[in-house]
Amino acid sequence: MWGQPRRGPWTSLLFAALLATSGQAGAADSKAFVEGECAQCHTLEKPAEFTVERMLNREAPDLYYAGNKFRREWLVEWLQEPKRIRPAGTYFGQNVVMGDERDIVPDDKLEPHPAYSAEEAEKAAEYLMTLRPYDDLIAEASYQEKPVSGMMGKMNFGKFKGCDACHQPTPGTGGLSGPEVHTAFARATPEFLFSFIKNPQAWEPRTFMPNPGLNDGEVNKLVNYLRFLSEE
């Protein structure tokens, strides 16, 4: 194959062993990097208990199922140039104060996420993408790519389903307590989006996202609308 020079069996074995060792070293290095850089704020292991208290005190989104959620290429890009996804932080309650008209998040309340070099971002993504405790949920997700009308999608996301009460479908519109969704399809796989929208509690029993109680067709419409938003 590809005009490789012929090697004897021992050479091949040695070559394979060297490759395996360097792969293991790379994986260990990648794991150590993530544990050193991310574990202070992010949960990297599945919690023993899912409690309200954990949600109230959580400093950053969980990463223990990162490999079931993210698109690797997005992770690598985002880690080099992080942009805020949750306008009010991971749990808004830690940051919200009463303003004159309504509750607000003071500008100086939220810390920026550290930025990493391309090499570091690749290293982090390598390990994060191995964290896949919910392969079964992803396997159950029956996403089907279908065309969507922007106008109908907007009406469905807003007026009919009320998602925009908490999520921003476009920058500057919608609610602030949940993650913005105009980049959702770029950062997460359609199977994750399908599964999470269909049953958020399967991923995090104490998430403050309600279960919208939708059938597969309705979930598909929302995921396809998220695709539409990411292509805008």
Binding site: D103, G162, G175, L176, P210
Partner: protein, 121 residues
């Protein structure tokens, strides 16, 4: 200007005290309210939560005594468990039955009674 309600401060302090070490097992009504309700109903329950800047229907003010007294505990339970449409209100109030057990929803209802300092008429 919104009211800086001293009574609410007292209620909040009582809520925190109620969250005993066993709180991890049994979250208090206030903890549940903080996590699930304040995003729209506001940190002091007056209906001016973080999400109200661009919302079509304003959330209910839980500190409004007369309005809250006009609703029974069962009505409040139903609105929380099954959402606004179950009590002929906005669909922007979602059903929280997947997030909380019935017993937890009852604790949220009890906390609402603290917020409004009222009971059902």
């Amino acid at each position: 200007m919104r009211r800086a309600n001293l009574m609410i401060g007292a209620v909040t302090a009582a809520g925190i005290l109620a969250a005993s070490p066993a709180g991890a097992e049994e979250p208090s009504g206030k903890q549940l309210y903080d996590l699930f309700c304040t995003q729209c109903h506001g940190v002091n329950g007056d209906g001016w939560g973080l999400n109200t800047g661009d919302i079509r229907v304003l959330p209910r003010d839980h500190t409004e005594k007369a309005e809250m007294a006009a609703r029974t505990d069962d009505h409040l339970f139903k609105a929380i468990k099954h959402g606004g449409t179950a009590v002929n209100k906005s669909n922007l109030m979602p059903a929280w039955d997947a997030n909380m057990t019935d017993a937890e929803i009852r604790r949220v209802v009890a906390y609402l009674r603290e917020l409004c300092d009222c009971s059902a008429d």
